[in-house]
C-alpha cells in the first residue's frame, strides 16, 4: 500500500509540472502588453516601467518562466496583490478552507443523494419510478449550478427567510458559544452545499444506475440467479459492489467540475472562498492573485485525484498488483 | 513455370512479445513466440505451416507482412530483406505479398462497400478512368465467383463465405505474387471450406500464385500443399514435401498430429 502511494505521488509530479508550465504560458501568450492589461493607459509611463521592472516583464520569456517556477516551488511566492499589497499566497490560503468545506460537504451530500437515486432507479429498472428518478436526474444534470443556487436562495433565504443568503458567518458570530457557532456555520453552508450536492448527485446517480443495470444483466449475475441466490443478495453482492468501486474513479474525475461549481456557488452566496477571490481578482485585474488562485486550484485538484486513486486502491486490491 | 525461383526465404527468425509494458518500476515480461525458424518458398509452390494454435504461426505471418519486428533473423523477398528497406520500398514489396486472414468479418472495413474495399487495392495502379477501374473490380469479383450485385453491399450483409471471397478478391487486387493464407478456412462451414479450397487451387493455377498456407487442419493441408512445415512451440520440428509428411512422418509430434486427425 505504501509503495503504491509513493508511486502515485511520484506520478503526480510531472503532471503538476506540466500544469504549472501551461498556466504560465497561457497567461503570457495572451496577446497584448501585460502592463497595459492592469493599468489605465493614461497612467504615466514611469509607473509602467516600475511594474515591468518589478515583475521582471522586461526579461525574455524563458527567464521569466524559470524565475516564476523558482519563486513558486522554492518560496511559495506568487507576488503581492495589486489591490492591497498582501502576499497573494496568504490571500489564497485564507480563502481555501471555505472552498474545501463547501466541496467536501457537497461531495458527501452528492454521493448520498446520488446513491439513493441511482440505486433506487436501478432496482426498479423499467418501472414508472425509474422513469421519474431518471428524468429528475437528467434535469439536475442539465442545470446551471448557479441557477439552482439562485432559485434556492430566492426561495429559502429570501421568500421563507429560513436560512441566511450570504457569507459564511453571521455578524455576531464571534459572540456566540461553540455550539451556536457550529450551528451558525451549518446554517450558512446549508444552501451552497445542497445546491452543489444536488447537481453532482445527478452525475453520480446517472453513472450508478447505468453501471448497476449493466452488472445486473451480466453473465455472472445470470449464473447466480440460476444457482437460486436471492435477488436481494445478488443486488448487494454483485450489482452494488461492481458499481460502487468504479464510482471512486468517477468521484476523482468530477473533482475539477466540483471545483468549478464551488467557484460559481461562492459568487452566488458571497462566500469568502477561492472562487469569489478569483472572480474578484479577474474583474479587478489583480494579476498575482489570479495566478496564485488558479495554481492552488490546480494543486488542490491533483491532491483530490490522488486521494481518489489511493481510495480506489484500498477498495480494489487488484489495482495494486497491476501496473 | 517449371524452373522454380526462390521467392521468400525466412532465416533463423526469432520473435519476442512483451506481455507487459515496462515502466519505471517493473521489468517487461518477455514471451518468445518464434524461436529460430528457417524455411523458404519457391515461386509457384504452396508451403503449409501446420501446428496447434499458439505455436507461433501467426507471429511469423505478422512478421512477413511487416507488422511485427523480429528480434533477429532475416525475411527476404526475392533476396531483399523486408526489414532493411525504406518505407517506400516496403510499400512496394507489401503489395506483392497479400494476406487473407482467418476472420473475414474483422478483415473488412465495416464502413466500406465490397466495391470500395477492392478498389482500394487497385488504387495506386494506373487505371485510365473510373469505368476501367470499375471493370477491374468486377473482374476480381468474378474471379472469386461473386457478381455485380455484390458491388454495393456492405460486409454485414454478406455470409461468412462471401466475405472471405471478398477478402481474397481484395488480396488479388494489387496483382500479388505471394498470398499468405492464415487459417482462411477455419471460420467456415465444411461445405464452404470445400468450395473455397477449389477456388484457391483454381486461382493459383490461373494467376501463377505462390501460397503460404497456415493451418491446423491436416486434411485441408493435404489437399492444397506441396511442402509442409510442422511447427510446435515456436520451432519447426519437421519440414518436408507433402508425401513424406503424410506417409512417412519423421518426428513424433507430426505422427501424433496425424493420428489425432485420423490420417494415420
Amino acid at each position: 500500500m505504501g509503495a503504491y502511494t509513493v508511486r502515485r505521488l511520484i506520478g503526480a509530479i510531472p503532471i503538476l509540472f506540466i500544469g504549472l508550465t501551461l498556466t504560465f504560458f497561457l497567461v503570457h501568450l495572451v496577446p497584448g502588453d501585460p502592463t497595459l492589461r492592469f493599468l489605465d493607459p493614461s497612467m504615466g509611463s514611469s509607473l509602467k516601467e516600475q511594474i515591468s521592472e518589478k515583475f521582471g516583464l522586461n526579461e525574455p520569456l524563458h527567464i521569466q518562466y524559470i524565475s516564476w517556477m523558482y519563486r513558486i516551488v522554492g518560496h511559495f511566492d506568487f507576488g503581492n496583490s495589486f489591490n492591497n499589497g498582501r502576499p497573494a499566497s496568504d490571500i489564497i490560503l485564507d480563502a481555501l478552507p471555505p472552498t474545501i468545506l463547501v466541496m467536501g460537504f457537497a461531495l458527501i451530500c452528492g454521493l448520498m443523494f446520488g446513491m439513493i437515486g441511482g440505486i433506487g432507479a436501478a432496482i426498479f429498472h423499467g418501472t414508472k419510478f425509474d422513469l421519474i428518478i431518471t428524468t429528475i436526474m437528467l434535469f439536475f444534470y442539465s442545470m446551471p449550478v448557479f441557477w439552482l443556487g439562485i432559485m434556492l436562495l430566492g426561495f429559502f433565504a429570501v421568500n421563507l427567510n429560513w436560512l441566511p443568503a450570504s457569507q459564511l458567518t453571521s455578524v455576531f458570530h464571534d459572540q456566540l458559544n461553540i455550539l451556536d457557532r457550529f450551528t451558525d456555520y451549518f446554517r450558512h453552508l446549508m444552501l451552497p452545499v445542497i445546491t452543489l450536492g444536488l447537481v453532482s448527485a445527478a452525475t453520480f446517480g446517472r453513472y450508478l444506475r447505468t453501471s448497476m443495470i449493466e452488472a445486473m444483466n451480466s453473465g455472472y449475475v445470470l449464473a447466480a440467479r440460476a444457482r437460486g441466490i436471492s435477488e436481494w443478495k445478488i443486488l448487494v453482492n454483485y450489482g452494488l459492489r461492481n458499481a460502487l468501486i468504479p464510482l471512486i474513479t468517477i468521484v476523482g474525475m468530477t473533482i475539477p467540475a466540483l471545483f468549478s461549481g464551488a467557484v460559481i456557488i461562492e459568487v452566488v452566496f458571497s462566500l469568502p472562498g477561492m472562487g469569489r477571490i478569483m472572480v474578484e481578482a479577474v474583474l479587478a485585474r489583480d494579476y498575482p492573485v489570479v495566478l496564485a488562485a488558479s495554481t492552488m486550484a490546480f494543486v488542490a485538484v491533483i491532491i483530490g485525484n490522488l486521494l481518489a486513486d489511493i481510495g480506489y486502491a484500498i477498495a480494489d486490491p487488484r489495482v495494486r498488483l497491476e501496473s | 513455370m517449371g524452373h522454380s525461383q526462390l521467392l521468400l526465404s525466412v532465416e533463423d527468425l526469432i520473435i519476442h512479445y512483451q506481455s507487459r509494458k515496462s515502466t519505471l518500476f517493473t521489468k517487461p515480461e518477455i514471451v518468445s513466440a518464434v524461436r529460430g525458424v528457417t524455411f523458404s518458398i519457391n515461386s509457384g509452390e504452396t508451403l503449409a505451416i501446420v501446428g496447434e494454435s499458439g505455436c507461433g504461426k501467426t507471429s511469423i505471418v505478422m512478421s512477413i507482412l511487416g507488422f511485427v519486428k523480429p528480434v533477429s533473423g532475416k525475411i527476404k523477398y526475392k533476396g531483399t530483406d523486408i526489414w532493411d528497406v525504406t518505407r517506400e520500398e516496403l510499400r512496394g514489396i507489401r503489395r506483392k505479398i497479400q494476406p487473407v486472414f482467418q476472420d473475414p468479418h474483422h478483415s473488412l472495413n465495416p464502413r466500406m462497400t465490397v466495391g470500395q474495399a477492392i478498389e482500394d487495392g487497385l488504387w495506386p495502379h494506373q487505371y485510365e478512368d473510373m469505368i476501367e477501374k470499375q471493370n477491374g473490380v468486377l473482374e476480381l469479383l468474378r474471379a472469386v465467383r461473386l457478381g455485380k450485385e455484390h458491388l454495393n453491399t456492405y460486409p454485414h450483409q454478406l455470409s461468412g463465405g462471401q466475405k472471405q471471397r471478398v477478402c481474397i478478391a481484395r488480396a488479388l487486387a494489387p496483382n500479388p505474387e505471394l498470398l499468405i493464407l492464415d487459417e482462411p478456412l477455419s471460420s467456415q462451414d465444411l461445405s464452404i471450406q470445400a468450395t473455397l479450397v477449389n477456388l484457391l487451387l483454381d486461382l493459383k493455377q490461373k494467376k501463377g500464385l505462390t501460397y503460404l498456407f497456415i493451418s491446423h487442419d491436416l486434411r485441408i493441408v493435404r489437399s492444397i500443399a506441396q511442402q509442409v512445415a510442422v511447427m510446435r512451440d515456436g520451432i519447426l520440428v519437421e519440414v518436408s514435401d507433402r508425401d513424406s509428411i503424410f506417409n512417412n512422418p519423421q518426428h513424433s509430434y507430426t505422427e501424433s498430429l496425424l493420428k489425432s486427425s485420423g490420417l494415420l
Binding site: P14, I15, L22, L26, V27, V30, P31, Y141, S142, M143, P144, V145, F146, W147, I150, M151, G154, V158, P256, A257, F259, S260, V263, I264, M278, V279, A281, V282, L283, V290, L291, A293, S294, A297, F298, V301 | M62, L65, G66, F67, R94, R95, I97, Q98, P99, F101, H106, S107, N109, P110, R111, M112, D120, G121, W123, P124, H156, C167, R170, P174
Partner: protein, 262 residues
C-alpha cells in the same frame, strides 16, 4: 426522440428570431421596467423595460451559436489530437495524453477565468477559449477507438495493400470513429452552453448589449425574488435546451452503438 424535437424547436426559433420575437430586442421602455408576466409581455420585462421573451429568443442565437461553434472547435481539435496520438503511438501519444490529463484535471471554469481575465471579454474570445479548452474528452475517446482499430485485421489488410497513411486515416479510421464523435459532440454542445452561461453570468462572457442566456441571468441576479421571472425563465430556457442535447446524444449513442452494427 424527444431530444431531437426539443433541439429542432430551439434551433428554428433561434433562426426565426426576427419573426417570432414579439418586440424589438433592444427597445428600452423605462416606464415598463420589471413588469411581471402579462398578456402584453408574456414573460415580463427586464430592468430597462425590454421584453424578456424577445430577449430569450434572440439569446438563443448567441447561446446556441457559441455552444455549436465551441463544440465544433473542440471536436476538430479533439479528433485531430486523438487520431494523431492513437495512430502514431509512442512518445507522441505519451506526451499528448499527459497534456490531456493535465488539462482535464484543471477546473474548467478556473482556466476560463484565467484566459478571459487576461484578454478582453467578448463573444469571440469566449467561444475560442471554450472550444480550445474542451477538446480533451473527444481526444481521449477518439484515441481509444483508434488504438482498437489499429489492431483490427481490416487495418492490417489496408496496410498490406500499401495504402498511404492519409488514405488509411481518411478511409479506414475516421469513418469508424465518426459515430462516437457525433455522440460526444452532441453532449458537448450542452456542456458548452452551460459553461458559457456560467461565464456570462459572472460578467466575463458575452458582454451587453449582446444577450446570451447567461447575460440575461446575470441581469436577473439583481433581484431574484422581486423579478423572479427573469431568473426563472432564463434558467428554464437553458435547462430545456441542455436536456434536449443530452437526450439527443444518448439517443444517438444507442442508435450508433457499434455493437448494434454487427
Amino acid at each position: 426522440m424527444v431530444g431531437a424535437v426539443i433541439v429542432l424547436i430551439i434551433f428554428f426559433s433561434a433562426l426565426g428570431a426576427p419573426i417570432l420575437a414579439p418586440y424589438d430586442v433592444n427597445a428600452q421602455n423605462l416606464t415598463m421596467s420589471l413588469q411581471p408576466p402579462s398578456t402584453s409581455h408574456l414573460l415580463g420585462t427586464d430592468v430597462y423595460g425590454r421584453d424578456l421573451l424577445s430577449r430569450l429568443i434572440y439569446g438563443a442565437r448567441v447561446s446556441l451559436g457559441i455552444g455549436l461553434s465551441a463544440a465544433f472547435i473542440a471536436t476538430t481539435v479533439g479528433v485531430f489530437v486523438g487520431v494523431f496520438a492513437g495512430f502514431l503511438g509512442g512518445w507522441v501519444d505519451w506526451l499528448l495524453m499527459r497534456i490531456v490529463d493535465v488539462l482535464m484535471g484543471f477546473p474548467r471554469l478556473v482556466v476560463m477565468l484565467l484566459a478571459v481575465g487576461f484578454g478582453t471579454p467578448s463573444i469571440w474570445l469566449t467561444l475560442t477559449v471554450l472550444g480550445l479548452l474542451a477538446w480533451m474528452e473527444v481526444a481521449r475517446i477518439v484515441r481509444g477507438e483508434v488504438m482498437v482499430i489499429r489492431e483490427m485485421l481490416y487495418l492490417k489488410a489496408a496496410q498490406a495493400l500499401g495504402l498511404k497513411r492519409s488514405r488509411i486515416i481518411m478511409g479506414y479510421i475516421l469513418p469508424n470513429v465518426i459515430g462516437s464523435v457525433i455522440v460526444s459532440t452532441t453532449l458537448l454542445i450542452g456542456t458548452m452552453i452551460l459553461v458559457e452561461a456560467s461565464l456570462s453570468f459572472l460578467g466575463l462572457g458575452v458582454q451587453p448589449p449582446n444577450a446570451s442566456w447567461g447575460t440575461i441571468l446575470n441581469q436577473g441576479r439583481v433581484d431574484p425574488v422581486g423579478a423572479w421571472w427573469i431568473s426563472a425563465f432564463g434558467g428554464l430556457m437553458i435547462i430545456i435546451t441542455v436536456v434536449g442535447f443530452n437526450l439527443l446524444g444518448d439517443g444517438l449513442r444507442d442508435l450508433l452503438d457499434p455493437r448494434s452494427l454487427t
